[in-house]
């Protein structure tokens, strides 16, 4: 499978008369863009706001992030979601780099929503402070979940995917500034120089723990709660086969932007043919009951073994309960003779003294740590807020609270905040971006 990613490096995003891309500038006709997003009648109030790196801007509640892209051949960027179901991972893709479309609640947040600071001390906590963010700030008519802590956020999330494709269409017929090629030969048809190297699979555990449909990550539009692990080509993931859901606490989340640019896939590609033979991805999931967790670990271990994998990297979109799936999967692979490395965050409590993962197994002897869910963070007010700051305290975001006898509310009257890292949008960068680690103090 060969995927050619034609990149356009966006230097600036501006509102203008016309929507087009030229010389690093993405211009957007705001009225037309608003009208396009409002085609979904569930969106009843809407604004489009641009947030740039370094600004004193705080964005909350952030529900989704998507890189704007287009398929020049007319296939959907997110097959089964923004258009017809076609196989992803092959052919030409055009991408606007350095920008993301953010889905932001105009008023209401939910458990898995997060916060982004574009400047100051808070900027270091998320990757998205380094991107120009085109924020869809929307209010919807989804009354059934208005005051629920768990929200599907369907309208805002789907708007983000569609609008990313809308913006991507500006570079549909242009020549890319850079071409990245991702090519991997069929597993049994590789040159001996490659196949003699240690064989490696990547095991991904996207979030799928809500039994009710509509909250989970989707693969080709299919809810991953009703799914058993299967073998995928890494290009499918880079090419929009998966989209993020609306459940996992923000710092442990993989946004759709993360899937589209999954750093661990890219690093494995770099080593392919040099130090390893990258077989592909075993796409697993995360489950609720022990039996479901075990079933998935059996599928993963069997597939890795049958493919002849010598090694595996396992990574989970989550913390807490999903740690059980993560550790069980690592142990199951070790049990069939596949050497493993795990990549995830830890949750050691505000004093750092708690057990780092919910379950532990000495077989998991090679782990990369990307951050601490429960690190307490205090930040000064920002000059501008996109969305509604009170949502952090009021709406049950995983790392915010309305009351604490010592710390007070997460949101102070002057606009300063105190929160757990848990609510930093994709803050632990488990997809592999994280330059954080955990140390003993």
């Amino acid at each position: 499978m060969k995927l050619e990613m034609g990149n356009f490096h966006v230097q600036d995003v501006v509102f203008a008369e016309k929507t087009f891309y030229k010389d690093g500038i993405l211009s957007i006709n705001k009225e037309e863009a608003l009208a396009f997003i409002k085609e979904d009648e569930h969106i009843i109030d809407l604004d489009l706001v641009i947030a740039k790196p370094g600004e004193s801007t705080r964005i909350v509640p952030v529900k989704e992030a998507v890189e704007p892209r287009i398929r020049p051949d007319g296939r959907a960027v997110f097959p089964g979601v923004t258009g017809d179901l076609e196989m992803a991972g092959e052919g030409r893709l055009h991408a606007l780099k350095g920008v993301s479309v953010l889905g932001v609640g105009m008023h209401y947040g939910s458990f898995g929503d997060g916060l982004i600071d574009m400047g100051g001390e808070g900027a270091k906590y998320t990757l998205f402070s380094q991107l120009i963010n085109i924020c869809i700030v929307a209010h919807t008519d989804e009354e059934y979940e208005r005051f629920e802590q768990q929200k599907k956020n369907t309208a805002i999330r789907m708007a983000s995917h569609k609008f990313a494709e809308y913006l991507g269409s500006t570079v549909k017929d242009l020549d890319p500034e850079e071409l990245e090629v991702f090519e991997i030969e069929p597993v049994t048809k590789r040159d001996e120089s490659v196949s003699k190297l240690p064989s490696v699979v990547l095991v991904m555990q996207p979030q799928s723990q809500m039994e009710e449909l509509g909250y989970n990550d989707l693969v080709y539009g299919w809810d991953m709660n009703k799914y058993v692990p299967s073998f995928m080509n890494p290009n499918e993931i880079l090419d929009g086969a998966l989209i993020s859901g609306s459940f996992m606490p923000a710092s442990s989340k993989w946004s759709t932007y993360d899937f589209q640019n999954f750093p661990t896939i890219k690093e494995l590609y770099k080593e392919h043919g040099k130090t390893i033979n990258f077989l592909g991805v075993i796409m697993s999931n995360l489950n609720v009951s022990l039996e479901q967790k075990k079933r998935s670990s059996i599928f993963v271990a069997q597939m890795a073994k049958s493919l002849g994998a010598d090694g595996a990297i396992v990574t989970e979109e989550g913390y807490g309960n999903p740690d059980a799936d993560y550790i069980m999967c690592l142990a199951a692979l070790e049990d069939v003779g596949v050497k493993t490395v795990g990549i995830s965050n830890e949750c050691t409590g505000r004093d750092g003294g708690s057990q780092p993962l919910v379950t532990l197994d000495v077989k998991a002897n090679a782990l990369v740590s990307t951050g601490n869910v429960s690190q307490l963070i205090e930040l000064p007010p920002a000059e501008k807020v996109i969305g509604e700051l009170e949502a952090l305290a009021r709406d049950g975001l995983s790392g915010g609270w309305s009351f604490d006898e010592l710390l007070g509310s997460s949101v102070k009257e002057d606009g300063s905040i105190i929160m757990e890292n848990n609510a930093m949008f994709c803050g632990d960068m488990i997809a592999g971006w994280s330059t954080k680690t955990m140390k003993e103090f």
Binding site: V200, Y319, S354, V362, S369, S398, W433, K439, E440, F441
Partner: protein
């Protein structure tokens, strides 16, 4: 008496003061034959405190001496006496040892350092060799630096402690255990790697090393399991007082104890002595880690008051405890959970509960 002037500590105007603890051997009093030496306090410097005084940005005003046997056999008296000395001394930091491989000396340094830290809240430092039993006993309570096997390493060991002590005295940030040189205390926090490789790169490099049989270093060493033994069965259920406890977040709808929906630090107990079941609309779940629909429609599915009341009528159990206890389990740290558990157990014991049914979600 402790110099509580934190401005002094942070501002660095006045010379800080320190107190040093050593055993009879390092005080030059004698070896094993003098190990019953009772605690004494002397002004000025003796033995290792001389070296420390030259490196520490504080003046060691007093040295405390105590025989290892005396500390070991009369611990309570020894600690009480020494704390009594210190009540009349101003100090900003307390240093003990280094104890090297000397087991009783190590335990003594740990015992007194921990007591001083707890009473006065000042930083305490000591140093031991990894073979010293004092390490396992006290490394979670105090900073114990990784020291040499014998007194030949005295100067090196003191130097490491002094460098760290100076950071504390100046209010400077301190680094992780491996950089500073103390034994891990079981406290983990996130740091940014300066220009460090991203997690994806670290993971791939670690895997390649593991595949090639080369040495690799996990970023999360798996600690030893901390398991609680399974209790003995209840002897006669028909006479037993059984309580219900849940981490499923079932509370009266107004959540009177304001238990958090995730990362809980609070728990509540609610009277069920006069009701046959938990009614929807009266009780609900505030747990944010699962779909609440079924629990809100019938809270008994999470905490089975209805079934237990039925068992009570049938005589299967002797008594259903008057209260059920509730908190939220999602994202709740092990330390908080253990604390809440201890608090709840205390109440259960007061009320002579014989057995507990614990439900999660």
């Amino acid at each position: 008496m402790v110099n509580k002037n934190n401005e002094g500590i942070l501002g660095g105007g006045v010379m800080k003061k320190a107190v040093y603890y050593i055993n009879q051997f390092f005080a030059g009093i004698g070896g094993e034959d003098q190990a019953d030496q009772k605690p004494e306090i002397r002004e000025g410097l003796i033995g290792p405190s001389l070296a420390m005084n030259s490196m520490l940005d504080a003046e060691i005003t007093h040295t405390i001496i105590c025989g290892d046997n005396f500390m070991g056999s009369n611990t309570e008296e020894a600690v009480k006496t020494i704390l009594g000395f210190l009540d009349n001394v101003e100090f900003d930091i307390f240093v003990a040892g280094p104890a090297f491989q000397a087991g009783r000396y190590g335990v003594a340094c740990g015992t007194i350092s921990k007591a001083v830290k707890e009473k006065y809240g000042v930083p305490v430092l000591t140093s031991m060799n990894e073979e010293n039993p004092g390490v396992e006993m006290f490394k979670k309570d105090i900073y114990i630096f990784k020291g040499g096997k014998s007194a030949a390493k005295m100067r090196d060991d003191v130097k490491v402690m002094a460098a760290f002590g100076n950071k504390l005295l100046k209010g400077e940030p301190t680094g992780p255990a491996e950089t500073e040189g103390f034994f891990e205390r079981g406290i983990r926090a996130q740091i940014w790697l300066d220009n460090g490789p991203i997690a994806a790169r670290r993971g791939v490099e670690m895997l390649v090393k593991k595949l090639n049989g080369e040495e690799f270093k996990t970023e999360l060493p798996i600690p030893k399991a901390d398991r609680v033994e399974i209790a003995a069965p209840v002897k006669d259920l028909t006479k037993a007082n059984i309580a219900l406890i849940t981490t499923g977040g079932i509370v009266p709808v107004e959540n009177p104890d304001r238990i958090q929906s995730a990362s809980a630090t609070r728990w509540g107990r609610y009277d069920i002595s006069n009701i046959e079941r938990l009614e929807s609309g009266v009780f609900k779940t505030i747990h944010a880690g699962f779909d609440p629909a079924a629990a809100d429609a019938d809270p008994n599915v999470v905490i089975p008051v209805d079934a237990m009341k039925a068992y009570l009528k049938e005589g299967k159990i002797g008594k259903l405890h008057d209260y059920f206890y509730s908190t939220v389990g999602t994202g709740t740290t092990q330390a908080e959970a253990a604390r809440m558990g201890r608090e709840i157990v205390e109440k259960l014991k007061e009320d002579s509960v014989d057995g507990v049914i614990m439900t999660s979600t």
